[in-house]
């Protein structure tokens, strides 16, 4: 197989970090290459260099044997390289069709004038390829997260039209927000792409990587540390390479009984909670209990979470925490009552990008940075550094802007925000492990369990059914804004995903 793309000795420094430290990588034609590595290993940086968004400090990129300097996305596209970014990148107020053809409208725009019908057709063609039934003329911001992801993939596939050469298509964590049906469609598409293109695929779900890829290259600390043949490797092999030692197998699989034996005291009681997208929700969470909520798109579970945090209006219902009635009118009251919330859309809602790790971490809990009403920089530094260490957050410094961290590390900071005060009672976690590597996930799981042990109640909207089953003590099934069933999930007597799916339909 001839080589489509080769990277030699790529180096990229950021203030305080060597994101890439002499990476070598070979992408062959007609293969799906997996790229694995912990959060912050340099995957996204490497891939961005391949589409001209990151200017490497040293090293070479060869496309079909020819050394190239990629200056921009257009430049890369002309060389047949295209990418779906880890963070969504669609224009929300344009139609899906426009997003799909954006920047290379071809016959969709003639002499600066839009041909809406042609554009719709072009977009439809792309969407058909991936079997999506999204309305091409729908405004993108009216689509769900997953639908938008499909639009992104439909968009990157346009590269076929752009370059005469077999394209290289890069997918940076495309599955982290997809449903399994959509993932299957995507994988079918990836396999189809292999017929005429090369694909670079990144995911933190290692089984997934091994499933769809032919070969997997592993990055660690900005260096290539080897590769495996996907057909013969198991996730543990990858994981070992990623962390450089024998990794603990501690996944979300419930290991030992964690709960104290005495009956758990009820902490959160929700009665008849109704809002725009949910109604008559009853929910109990006891101290030290993790309750998972599962449901399909539009089940309203996210809005219930937000409502409990005072971030979504409610029309009826009563909520008590520790027997005290909760004020649901604003997030301040929720925080004061000891509730913490980790939103799914980290980039927009979870963190304040330009602010430092330290400030993001201590935004909420004044105890963590103040003596009296005054900020004590020393105290803040102490607390923050302690948590950086505690959660193994990879950051050059507590003063680094959080937007410079890798996704997984950003998530840890967001989570830490609720812990630094030491007064957390109830955690509402919306896809808390989205985009996290295995290690980080285990960290988050361990953290959740430890918090549970200290009596913190948790509501978890999990990334996958397995995660929900593994972590939760009880699972609530929601559909159409209502709670339909509750499935017990005690350690030692866990249901299977299949059992759950049965309950859900």
């Amino acid at each position: 197989m001839s080589i489509a793309l080769e990277v030699k000795g790529l180096v990229k420094h950021y203030p305080g970090v060597k994101a890439l430290d002499g990476v070598d990588l070979v992408v062959r034609q007609h293969e799906v290459l997996g790229l694995a590595g912990e959060n912050g290993a340099g995957k996204s940086t490497l891939l961005k260099a391949l589409v001209g968004l990151v200017k490497p400090d040293a090293g070479d990129i060869f496309v079909r044997g020819e050394r190239v300097r990629l200056r921009s996305v257009v430049d890369a596209a002309d060389h047949g390289i295209g990418m779906v970014f880890q963070e969504q990148s669609l224009v929300p107020n344009l139609t899906a069709a426009e997003n799909i053809v954006l920047g290379s409208e071809g016959p969709g725009v003639r002499r600066g004038v839009y041909r809406w019908e042609a554009m719709r057709r072009m977009a439809q063609e792309q969407l058909d390829k991936i079997g999506s039934d999204i309305d091409p003329l729908a405004r993108t911001d009216s689509l769900s997260f997953a639908e938008r992801q499909m639009v992104e993939i439909a968009k990157v596939l346009r590269i076929e039209q752009r370059s005469q050469h077999p394209p290289v298509i890069i997918l940076d964590e495309p599955t982290s927000v997809l449903e399994s049906k959509e993932i299957e469609t995507l994988f079918r598409q990836v396999r189809r792409l292999r017929e005429f293109a090369s694909v670079v695929f990144v995911s933190h779900r290692l089984d997934e990587v091994l499933d769809v890829c032919d070969r997997v290259a592993v990055l660690r600390g900005g260096q290539s540390v080897g590769e495996v043949d996907a057909s013969s490797a198991v996730p543990a092999d990858l994981h070992r390479m990623m962390i450089g030692s024998t990794g603990s197998e501690d996944h979300y699989h419930d290991t030992a009984a964690q709960r104290p034996d005495e009956p758990l005291r009820p902490m959160l009681e929700v009665r008849g909670l109704s809002g725009k997208t949910f109604s008559d929700v009853d929910l109990d969470v006891r101290a030290g209990e993790i309750v998972g909520i599962v449901g399909v798109h539009g089940s309203g579970r996210e809005d219930v979470c937000r409502a409990l945090f005072g971030a979504e209006p409610t029309t009826a219902g009563e909520v008590t925490l520790d027997g005290k009635k909760l004020d649901l009118s604003n997030t301040r009251a929720a925080c004061a009552a000891g509730i913490g919330y980790v939103p799914a859309e980290r980039k927009i809602e979870g963190m304040v990008g330009p602010m430092s790790v330290a400030e993001n971490m201590t935004l909420t809990k004044q105890k963590a940075r103040c003596s009296g009403p005054l900020v004590s920089p020393k105290k803040q530094a102490n607390v923050v550094d302690r948590w950086i260490e505690r959660l193994s957050i990879r950051t050059p410094h507590r003063g680094t802007a959080i937007q410079r961290l890798s996704g997984g590390n950003q998530q840890k900071v967001v989570l830490a925000r609720w812990l630094v005060g030491g007064d957390i009672r109830l955690l509402l976690l919306d896809h808390p492990t989205r985009g996290l590597d295995i290690g980080a996930r285990s960290e988050v799981y361990r953290l959740m369990r430890e918090l549970a042990k200290t009596g913190v109640a948790t509501v978890l909207l999990a990334d996958s059914l397995e995660e929900a089953i593994g972590m939760a003590d009880r699972i609530i099934v929601m559909s159409d804004g209502r709670v339909t069933t509750e499935v017990g999930c005690p350690s030692g007597d866990k249901p299977t995903p299949l059992d759950l799916v049965k309950e859900m339909v």
């Binding site: 304040v352 201590t362 607390v383 505690r390």
Partner: protein, 331 residues
């Protein structure tokens, strides 16, 4: 690790690459550099410009603008804008002149408090009704103007008792106008309070990303209302400075200070989109704008060319002062 998470392990803290680089330090001095450059240019054109008397006059002249800009900077940092400051300052001059005979020494605090309250009302309208601050304060601007016209009976109100504001016309150590010193103190006090308390990070978070701030439990609404309140109070104080110079209140006295005040904020390098910036930058910005407003004609630039130069120089000044690494997209 099996220690309960709530327990707190000890970790050594090291200084490191989080500290600002030389370049970052330089960009934060840009407003001062712009100021010095402008002063130098004016001096080259007219060497008489750089005298102690002249600088003292410029300092005194700039005081109300500094105070106005400082207050409004808080609103801008939160991501909003306050278009009412000038009209509110005009109204405050009228209040001061009208109330002085009855309230005496209490007039100053009373005017500042009332102006602050008017600011607060706008802030509350903004956060409760969810109307863009641009519109709320534009409405505020016309309402304050109307009230000022009516209560003043559409004319200046003389201040007979000049002693009430004469302290602002004095000089500290013979050279520094008290009004200027007060302006500096206001900037310093607000800046210090922000810095010493969580307010700074709340304001910054609100300005950069309101939704993330809110979901982090930051008191976004309170912070905004607070910013409008301080902005209003600063308009009140600026009004008193104007009265101390004009010996009267007038319903349109400060109206023309709106654009210079906002220009001062932007020239200082504070991002009009919120988040990034500081009061010190606005202080430097206000001085730059003052020098341009009074300096160009004084050194003999003819009126039409003065406008053209003013336009070109403020743009150039912002090109110099804005730290683009802190502002993601320039709109």
């Amino acid at each position: 690790m099996t220690t309960p998470v709530i327990a707190t392990p000890d970790v050594a803290v090291g200084a490191g690459p989080g500290a600002p680089t030389v370049r970052q330090r330089l960009t934060s001095f840009m407003p001062v550099i712009a100021l010095v450059a402008l002063l130098a240019a004016l001096t080259i054109v007219d060497p008489d410009f750089l005298t102690q008397r002249s600088l003292t006059a410029a300092a005194r002249t700039s005081s109300p603008l500094i105070v106005l800009a400082a207050g409004a900077t808080l609103v801008v940092l939160c991501g909003g804008i306050d278009l009412s400051i000038a009209a509110l300052a005009s109204l405050s001059t009228v209040f001061f002149a009208l109330w002085l005979p009855d309230l005496g020494t209490l007039t100053t605090p009373a005017v500042i408090a009332v102006a602050g309250a008017f600011g607060a009302v706008q802030g509350i309208a903004h956060v409760v009704l969810r109307i863009p601050s641009f519109i709320v304060t534009l409405g505020g601007m016309s309402i304050f103007s109307a009230v000022a016209l009516v209560v003043s009976d559409a004319g200046p109100v003389r201040v007979a008792d000049r002693d009430a504001t004469s302290w602002l016309s004095m000089y500290v150590a013979g050279y520094v106008p008290v009004a200027f010193a007060v302006a500096i103190v206001v900037v310093a006090v607000i800046a210090l309070v922000l810095r010493a308390t969580p307010l700074q990070s709340w304001i910054t978070a609100t300005g950069y990303s309101e939704s993330a701030a809110r979901l982090a439990g930051t008191p976004v609404d309170l912070v905004k209302v607070g910013a409008f309140t301080v902005s209003g109070a600063c308009a009140g104080l600026a009004a008193i400075m104007l009265v101390s110079r004009n010996f009267s209140g007038s319903p349109t006295m400060a109206d023309n200070l709106l654009l210079p005040a906002v220009a001062a904020i932007v020239v200082g390098g504070t991002a009009i989109t919120g988040g990034h910036g500081s009061l010190w930058r606005s202080l430097a910005g206000a001085l730059v704008v003052t020098l341009l407003r009074v300096g160009l004609p004084i050194v003999g630039v003819p009126s039409a060319y003065e406008q053209i130069l003013y336009g070109a120089i403020i743009v150039a000044a912002v090109a110099l002062t804005l730290d683009r690494s802190k502002v993601l997209t320039i709109k």
